[in-house]
């Protein structure tokens, strides 16, 4: 009763977690061994048939696999057998590079669009058409023109993360309160200083919200993109393990993707909290 809300919520989370594990564990348990089966036939069929064991790995199998990956995240035994850490690093590298390029374009361009009603109207039709295009639709075009699967994946990340940042930056910049701009005007603040000392801090929360949406989309897209182009990356890992019929590894990869996505999102959320100002 005296425990804080946080403590109670954490407790409930744990209960849900272990409840889920238990249900999972029970769900994949087999019925007892089938007694009257020809032992030769049983050997051929494997445990799935003989003990009614599900083909779906249980939480213990997955746990064991995670432990294995944790012990050796960065091994490299040829193109189809790399540690999950290496694959994750490949994906992260592509996402961060494509995302960084998108930031470099979206912030200045968003500033320009936000500050000039003319630019805003001129760019609007293009943004409206480009924004709803699924980033993967660019993939063939990228592969054809760039002729490099790795750079194409980076391009796809770039193109999907640029829109939310561009739109939010333009909106944040155009919505800066007139009275703050008037303060800068009465103080004869030169344009560049005004951009960095008034407009940027005023628009920062909106801009970071856009950046947060973008990184989320980028992380969603990289998995699909890597499934398409293959070679390396966590998306390719998932696809490869599916071809190996290693469902355990697929589940581990899903968990890793979720955790990494959360870390990226929470990092930007923390940045956003730092830059938000109460009015």
């Amino acid at each position: 009763m005296l425990a804080s809300l946080n403590a109670r919520a954490a407790l409930l989370s744990l209960v849900i977690f272990f409840g889920f594990l238990l249900a999972w564990h029970i769900g994949v348990q087999g019925t007892k061994a089938v007694a009257d089966m020809d032992p030769e036939y049983a050997r051929l069929m494997g445990v799935t048939a003989t003990q009614g064991k599900s083909a779906m790995p249980g939480p213990l199998d997955v746990g064991a696999q995670i432990w294995k990956h944790l012990n050796e995240p960065f091994y490299d035994r040829g193109p189809n057998d790399k540690g999950i850490g290496i694959q994750l690093a490949y994906s992260l590298g592509r996402v961060l590079l494509g995302y960084f390029l998108a930031v470099m374009l979206a912030l200045p361009l968003g500033f320009l669009i936000g500050m000039s009603p003319l630019m805003s109207r001129a760019f609007d039709p293009f943004i409206q058409v480009m924004k709803p295009i699924s980033p993967l639709a660019w993939m063939p075009l990228a592969l054809y023109t760039i002729k490099d699967s790795n750079i194409s994946a980076i391009f796809v990340i770039f193109i999907c993360s640029v829109w939310p940042m561009l739109i939010n930056t333009a909106f944040g910049v155009s919505a800066v309160r007139k009275e703050w701009l008037n303060v800068a005007r009465t103080l004869e603040v030169p344009p560049l200083r005004k951009a960095f000392t008034i407009i940027l801090p005023a628009a920062a929360p909106t801009i970071v919200t856009g950046m947060r949406i973008s990184i989320g989309i980028a992380w969603l897209v990289i998995v699909a993109a890597e499934m398409l182009v293959g070679g390396t990356g966590i998306g390719y890992f998932v696809w490869n393990e599916w071809n190996n019929l290693s469902i355990t590894n697929v589940i581990v990869a899903i968990l890793v993707i979720g955790l990494m996505g959360m870390i990226l999102d929470q990092t930007l959320a923390a940045v956003g909290r730092k830059l938000t100002y109460p009015e």
Partner: protein
């Protein structure tokens, strides 16, 4: 052209009406101020006082006419004319000190950070906010925010101070103290001040001249009231002056009735370009019965 320090010459402001056409807030507005003088403008809410002030600040340019300072038409804002905004207009991501320092460093671009902060602190102390300098605006009361706005405007030591109801959100005690402080600073530095207020006593204590603006739309300058009180007046005993009630009654009378009716009964000889200057004072022994003596 007049030879006044600040002169407002035939300015106009109109806004488009929702249904088409235009609403004239005011047009052909004329008045002027002398250097080192403190002018207040009073008038009902919405008559266009802030608009006039924005024209003087250079934040808005008049549609017709011109506002002139020191022989130069105002073409935009200037560090020589500091503005205390009606809405505070503090930067919420900066602390109290940060807000004032921002103004100081804009005024003196080559100052070091220590110089800037020391100068800013001097004015934060003057408005009684020492100890709160690291607070963000969101942590301040409305009155404290107003005081930051006052400190920010004073800190850049402008030639002209334009104030939009700077004391309206303050309690009586703080307001009195700040009025005295601002008046002392202005008298010391010889700065010219233009202030919007709704408080008649505040106008009588602070102003040398009080501009009376009639109700909008199509507001006019009804007249300029010269303050008959001695220049070395003290706030706590202005009401002891024989001239206090005549001038106060004159202003109240304007706000209560004449601001509405002025347009319909424009006095004979009224000239928009030279609004009548009056000096309401106690009945001088020589001319009994005359409380409003025209001086110009």
């Amino acid at each position: 052209m007049t030879n006044k320090f600040i002169s407002v010459e035939g300015i106009a402001r109109r806004y488009p009406k929702p249904g088409g056409g235009k609403t004239t807030i005011f047009e052909d507005l004329w008045f002027s101020m002398n250097k080192g003088e403190f002018s207040c403008i009073i008038g009902h809410s919405g008559c266009g006082k802030t608009t006039v002030l924005n024209n003087l600040a250079g934040l808005e340019l008049p549609e017709d006419g011109v506002a002139v300072v020191d022989g130069q038409a105002i073409e935009g804002p200037s560090l020589d004319r500091a503005v205390i905004f009606q809405s505070h207009a503090l930067l919420p991501w900066r602390s109290v000190l940060g807000n004032v320092a921002y103004a100081v460093s804009s005024r003196w671009r080559d100052w070091s950070r220590e110089q800037v902060n020391a100068h800013a602190m001097k004015f934060i102390e003057k408005v009684g906010l020492k100890g709160s300098e690291h607070k963000k605006p969101a942590e301040l009361s409305g009155g404290m925010k107003q005081r930051v706005g006052i400190a920010r405007a004073l800190s850049i030591e402008p030639k002209i101070l334009l104030m939009d109801e700077p004391f309206s959100a303050l309690d009586a005690l703080t307001r009195g103290a700040l009025q005295e402080e601002v008046r002392r600073i202005l008298l010391e530095t010889g700065q010219t001040a233009f202030m919007i207020t709704h408080d008649v006593d505040e106008a009588i204590f602070l102003a040398d001249r009080i501009v009376l603006m009639t109700n909008g739309p199509e507001a006019m300058i009804a007249e300029i009231v010269e303050n008959p009180l001695p220049r070395d007046r003290r706030r706590i005993d202005i009401h002891k002056s024989a001239d206090y009630y005549p001038v106060r009654n004159h202003l109240m009378d304007f706000l209560v009735s004449r601001s509405k009716t002025f347009k319909d009964e424009i006095p004979a000889g009224y000239d928009k370009r030279h609004p009548p200057v009056v000096r309401p004072c106690a009945e001088p022994p020589s001319t009994p019965g005359e409380t409003r003596r025209k001086v110009a």
